[in-house]
């Protein structure tokens, strides 16, 4: 059981000051140009209110869109390699939702299941997460269908739940306790009642879905669902749990660098062989891979889903593909 405390809004604002005094930057959802996205903030007043979620995911804090893996210089018969150190700034992610906080475990599973990925780990080490439980939701949310919930503590170091005059705070991890230790006087004994959390009814049973997917592999539903898919990859780029990446070279005759960049199994070129052969030649097969990787391969290999039910993919999709609906359809009784 986590330690429970009460934080008034004034105390939380003071905590922001203490965090910055400790040399940490704070990233939080802010309203800018009609969008709510993560940006550096100094005060609680700068943090957006009444948002359901940011459109983009928080994974960029530990897995940048593009990052350098190494660089080199070249001369005839010579190459000098230069290792790359990730720039990992002490960072507090404030105000992300429980679904998204849970997504970091899916990234960690891939980056560290075998050999360890220094770039991801260096940033994760420097990251602390103060999640805020959801009192609002929208139609794209389906956390409760994939084992999460609007008050889930998974992935957060401290989870705040809105309450009269401020927040209830659950201090969950060593990183959370280290934050509390910066200003213990701000954490009052828990007293007030938490605000009612959003109600997100479960649309499907994810364990039953995982169990059913093997028999659905050759079902026509994947082609049907993907007919309108543009293969734009927006779903993967906003997904807190999508890890797939590309490695590309930027160079001239004398020097170059090797970069890692986000990629997507939805792109036609993702699996294209140099010979022209493509193991997943149609969008239906690529859409199926997305679903199966998250709901069959992940449970099988890593003992967790590769989806946190945040609904960002659904909100971002330019042709209104809806993951929750598509998965619910996959669980519909088979017509005989």
């Amino acid at each position: 059981m986590a330690d429970q405390f009460q934080l008034s809004s004034a105390s939380l604002d003071a905590l922001f000051t203490a965090l910055q005094g400790d040399g940490r930057r704070i990233l939080a959802p802010t309203d800018r140009d009609g969008r709510t996205e993560l940006n550096p903030v100094q005060t609680l007043g700068q943090v957006a209110r009444d948002y359901v979620q940011t459109a983009l995911s928080a994974k960029e804090t530990v897995f940048p869109k593009v990052e350098q893996l190494l660089s080199y210089s070249m001369a005839p018969g010579q190459v000098e390699l230069v290792d790359a150190e990730p720039r990992a700034l002490p960072t507090v992610l404030f105000g992300i939702r429980p679904c998204e906080a849970g997504g970091f475990a899916a990234l960690d599973a891939v980056f560290n299941w075998d050999t360890r990925d220094r770039f991801f780990n260096a940033r994760m080490e420097q990251l602390a997460i103060i999640g805020v439980a959801c009192t609002r939701k929208d139609d794209a949310c389906f956390c409760t269908s994939v084992g999460g919930g609007p008050g889930s503590t998974r992935g957060s170091d401290i989870l705040l739940t809105p309450a009269a005059g401020g927040f209830l705070a659950q201090v969950l991890t060593d990183k959370g306790r280290a934050i509390q230790a910066l200003a213990p006087e701000l954490f009052a004994p828990a007293a007030g009642l938490a605000a009612p959390l959003a109600e997100v009814p479960a649309a499907f049973d994810h364990a039953a879905l995982t169990a059913r997917l093997p028999e659905l592999f050759d079902s026509p539903i994947w082609d049907d669902q993907a007919l309108r898919c543009l293969g734009c990859g927006a779903c993967a780029f906003v997904c807190p749990a999508c890890v797939c990446f590309d490695i590309q070279e930027e160079a001239d005759k004398k020097a170059g660098r090797r970069l890692r960049a986000w990629d997507s199994c939805g792109f036609a070129m993702f699996t294209l062989h140099a010979s022209g052969h493509n193991p997943r030649p149609a969008q239906g097969a690529r859409w199926r891979q997305r679903v199966y990787h998250k709901f069959a391969t992940y449970p099988d290999r890593y003992g967790m889903l590769g989806c946190v039910g945040c609904g960002k993919c659904t909100r971002a999709c330019p042709v209104d593909m809806n993951l929750q609906e598509h998965l619910t359809q996959a669980m519909a009784p088979v017509e005989s």
Partner: protein, 279 residues
């Protein structure tokens, strides 16, 4: 303080270049760093990521045998940006290598068994590593039969080694070229690999079959082997899925529950039956 960078390649010097066939070359590579050379070991079937600095990385098997120490060899066809960059290199130039990656051909389990290699075109390199590994341990295996085909006589790779295998009494080499690919002095067979195998009708008794080739060759050869009585557990092949990281992270080679770069590239036909046919 920091963990090591798993994406950092070894620097390798090109010790020798062999032109094998039109557009196909073999590099012999030696480690620039002596300590890296000492620490390096691999087993047959494994692969690596080869860098043409300035262009990027490509995935090829290690085409030499682990019994031949001090170097590795790779054989590639010039088809894209990286292989064009590699093809520009000369002896003494530096390339990068990450590896060895992936699983192995379990040749220790094949002691006393007959070996049947079936391969086509540029897919001989992964089997060439196994062939030399087994020939260097010749006493441990029974009959060794190699069926190798290419589009034309000129497209056959490792021509000097084919000659050597042809002359060895302890190797049965069957060469074939596609109809129209023969030369006037061609003494091998004319025909595609699968019908040549069917005609040869090798016995499945105590025999391991290794099949590497273009997808169509594999697709047509497998049923013939099954009809001849080879068990799915006795037929080995390698998958050639596109890869970027080689270490089970980038997601590109993911096929069902398998990362080809970690759980492969070597699979038995029985194991392939458990995977979706996305390769």
């Amino acid at each position: 303080m920091s963990e090591q960078n798993i994406y950092l390649p070894h620097l390798m010097r090109i010790a020798a270049i062999t032109d094998e066939a039109p557009g196909v070359r073999t590099f012999r590579l030696e480690f620039v760093d002596e300590a890296a050379a000492q620490a390096f070991a691999f087993r047959t079937g494994q692969f690596g990521l080869y860098s043409a600095f300035g262009e990027g990385e490509s995935t090829f098997c290690i085409a030499s045998s682990p019994t031949r120490k001090g170097y590795i060899e790779c054989t590639f066809r010039e088809v894209g940006r990286v292989t064009a960059g590699l093809a520009d290199k000369e002896v003494g130039d530096i390339v990068g290598f990450r590896g060895p990656y992936g699983n192995i051909f379990p040749i220790e389990d094949w002691r006393g068994r007959n070996l049947l290699f079936i391969t086509g075109g540029i897919a001989l390199p992964p089997l060439r590593s196994v062939i030399w590994n087994c020939l260097d341990l010749r006493d441990q295996f029974g009959d060794i039969t190699i069926v190798y085909g290419a589009r034309t006589v000129n497209d056959l790779v490792y021509k000097a080694e084919l000659k050597e295998w042809q002359e060895r009494p302890d190797v049965n080499l069957v060469l074939t070229v596609d109809p129209g690919g023969e030369t006037p002095d061609w003494t091998g067979k004319v025909g595609f690999v699968p019908p040549v195998v069917e005609q040869l009708a090798p016995s499945p008794d105590n025999t391991i079959a290794l099949v590497c080739g273009p997808p169509i060759m594999i697709k047509l050869t497998m049923p013939i082997l099954r009809k001849l009585g080879f068990a799915p557990e006795s037929i080995y092949t390698t998958l050639e899925n596109r890869m970027k990281c080689g270490v089970g992270k980038c997601g590109r080679c993911s096929t069902g529950r398998s990362y080809v770069c970690k759980d492969g590239p070597v699979y038995t036909l029985a194991e392939l039956g458990q995977l979706p046919a996305e390769y």
